[in-house]
Amino acid sequence: MQHTLFALVENKPGVLNRVASLFRRRNFNIESLNVGQTESPEISRMTIVMDGDERDVRIVEANLYKLVNVIDVQEVTNRPAVLRDLALIKVRAAPEKRAEIANLASIFRANIVDVAPDSVIVEITGTEDKIESLVELLRPMGILEMVRTGQVAMMRGDQPGARHTPGAGNNGNGYHKQNTEYLN
């Protein structure tokens, strides 16, 4: 089953390499990894989508915590969270096909962001399912290129995601209280 985690990490050189190296070293099966800035310039945020059972996810979380630069890890799978992926899809489009593509795009609330003589670029943001549906519909027309950002995730409201790692979780030792203070 697919799981989505996010990790707050120190924004320092080499941290992405440490995380990527960990996944390789421990043979973890990662479907996508997205890294970006946060509200704090000292902190980056990684969203990790992985396939596996509960135990696999717990092991990934605990290993992430072993990295000195990883501050917090939360799982958002099956929790009230906003999950988004962005795709740019370049589709073969002779002028007479443009209207059909524009039509499909508007159904998915996607945008056409570039028009060339023989192709258009469709930009779509949404859940992975939604993007995959559009991709399937566009495929018969000829997808020339595609790029996806990988999923990003944010919990709704003020609830946190699930912190499972014992000792690192909010189980009474104040670990996350201190982390939150650091963030503020």
Binding site: V9, E10, G14, N17, R18, S21, L22, R25, R55, R58, I59, A62, N63, Y65, K66, L67, V68, N69, V70, I71, T165, P166, G167, A168, N171, G172, N173, Y175, Q178, N179, Y182
Partner: protein, 561 residues
């Protein structure tokens, strides 16, 4: 006050309590070496950087302090790699400092440039690249803190040459700011209560004591737990000494070459209390059939070890000593007479098979030599080993009654560890007798450090168990490869002459009756001494759980009358 990056490094090392550094100079670390002369730190010049890392490791294991190794960039740094990996696998706290080309040359394939932080990323607990002098104090402070706290491990600092030379204002950072690094200390009360219930209900409990007991200094707590709940204690290789071998509740070593009764106890247990150990494949055998009837409590400081190899019922995440201190008062006293009697019965059977029960056949066996060493040294020597048969015999026949005495590469199984580790251990405990029990194969891997031992006047006693084979691999070939001895017969030098070429007094022993005399000779001769024991060539370590087999499917030593 302004200081150079190199001076700041030494200022910080002195503040960390560093008294000795094991290293080898070279171009990219020369400013550091130059500054060293002004500081009260003793430098040990090794003959190969691998030796520096192992010495730092041996020093750390024997002293409980952080060991420090130093090397130049490029090949100097890559030569440390085996030693770093060895320390990583056994959670040994060392800090390695390597020179690096100036920051403006990084990435340009400059002379002796190697991506050392990249190479050591998966084999360090953490590593740093210092590119300017103002980073030095903070990095060194953090490096020592990370190396020694939580689950200890190696930390590497790659130090650009420009940062060694540059001057900056030196301010020692009192506070450490590591938002992502907070090792757990106490286990939650609710988890402790769950553990108490399992211990209450247990009829056939076994404690599995690992390296964590020693690292946490929880030997007293372990003993209290064992005695209060009358639970026998099996130890991992690195856990030996956690409970005295002579304690009535000690089961000795578990696992591939563990005591048969310890393995039987584990397989028949209804509760395992794992303390600071990680269920390595060498102690579990086949995971599917491992301790099938046992519920499991796992006390561990590293959450990533929980459920990694063995799924447990109650994880207690925290510092072992703290967790046990919290747990023990919550427990009542228990008796397990039937269970202990059953284990005793298995023990009798084992004693029958012991090589110590063999009638004297005039042959020299490694086990006999090690047992004699144990007797002559009163069981109180520090014993460093290489890796292989001699290592297992040392674990089996030198009955460790004290912690921090066995200095051996467990997880990594690094041949050549012994001689440098023994030298490092001697620097930690110059008041103690330090023996190296090595094999002819392991010894030859790092024998260049004999010169280091002589230069430093290291009072180490070297016992080489020479069977003219890579013995453990030969044993596997005997058992599992139809005695096809591929690349295991081994011609060594004349070890006595080799020692003498170094100015080291030496003796060769070929007969059982000369063993004790030679050990006494080594003890009475000051400085390094070498004794070569020419032992039986094709002797095997028993019992043996074949790799991946069930833990109680042991190959046993045939009974000899």
């Amino acid at each position: 006050m302004k200081k150079t990056g190199a001076e700041i490094l030494w200022e910080c090392l002195v503040r960390e309590g560093v008294e000795v550094v094991f290293g080898y100079p070279g171009g990219a670390i020369m400013p550091v070496y130059d500054a060293m002369l002004e500081y009260p730190v003793h430098h040990v010049l090794v003959r190969h950087e691998q030796g520096a890392a192992h010495m730092a490791d041996g020093y750390a294991r024997a002293s409980g302090k952080v060991g420090v190794a130093m090397a130049t960039s490029g090949p100097g740094a890559t030569n440390l790699v085996t030693g770093i990996a060895t320390a990583m696998m056994d959670s040994s706290p060392i800090v390695c400092i390597t020179g690096q080309v100036p920051v403006h040359l990084i990435g340009g394939d400059a002379f002796q440039e190697t991506d050392v932080t990249g190479i050591t990323l998966p084999i360090t607990k953490h590593n740093y690249l210092i590119t300017s002098a103002d980073q030095v104090a903070r990095v060194v402070r953090e490096a020592f803190h990370i190396a020694r706290s939580g689950r200890p491990g190696p930390v590497l600092i790659d130090f650009c040459k420009n940062a060694q030379i540059e001057e900056t204002e030196f301010e020692y950072p009192e506070e450490i700011e590591l938002p992502g690094y907070r090792p757990p200390t106490r286990a939650p009360r609710a988890d402790l209560e769950k553990a108490v219930r399992l211990i209450e209900e247990a009829e056939r409990p076994v404690i599995l004591a690992g390296h964590g007991v020693l690292m946490s200094g929880a030997m007293e707590e372990l003993k209290m737990l064992a005695v209060k709940t009358q639970t026998p204690v099996a130890m991992t290789l690195l856990g030996l000494g956690a409970l005295p071998a002579s304690h009535p509740l000690s089961l000795g070593m578990m696992g591939m070459h563990g005591e048969a009764y310890a393995n039987n106890a584990i397989q028949n247990a209804d509760l395992l209390i794992a303390l600071g150990m990680r269920f390595d494949d060498r102690v579990t055998g086949n995971l599917r059939t491992y301790a099938p009837r046992a519920r499991k409590i796992h006390v561990e400081i590293d959450p990533s070890e929980v459920h990694k190899n063995v799924v447990v019922d109650v994880p207690l995440i925290g510092d072992l000593k703290t967790v046990l201190t919290d747990l023990i008062p919550m427990l009542d006293e228990y008796e397990h007479e039937e269970w202990l009697a059953q284990i005793d019965e298995w023990k009798q059977e084992t004693e029958q098979r012991s090589i110590m029960a063999w009638p004297d056949d005039g042959k020299l066996y490694t086990a006999h030599a090690i047992r004699a060493l144990w007797e002559v040294t009163g069981g109180d020597s520090i014993v460093a080993t290489g890796v292989g048969q001699h290592q297992m015999w040392a674990a089996q026949y030198y009955h460790f009654d004290h912690p921090y005495r066995l200095i051996t590469s467990g997880g990594a199984g690094t041949m050549g560890f012994g001689l440098p580790a023994a030298i490092g251990a001697w620097f930690a405990h110059k008041d103690k007798e330090v023996w190296l029990v090595d094999g002819d194969g392991s010894f030859q891997m790092t024998q260049a450090e004999l010169s280091t031992a002589v230069q430093e006047g290291a009072n180490i006693k070297i016992a080489i168990m020479n069977n003219h084979f890579l013995g453990m691999v030969r044993q596997w070939q005997e058992f599992f490869f139809d005695k096809r001895y591929a690349a295991t017969p081994l011609t060594g030098p004349d070890f006595v002459k080799l020692a003498e070429a170094h100015g080291i007094p030496a003796r060769r022993v070929t007969k059982p009756e000369d063993v004790r005399g030679a050990i006494s000779f080594a003890q009475e001769t000051p400085g390094p001494v070498l004794v070569e024991f020419v032992v039986e060539k094709e002797e095997a370590v028993y019992p043996m759980v074949p790799s991946g087999a069930d833990l109680d499917a042991m190959i046993r030593r045939p009974i000899r009358k």
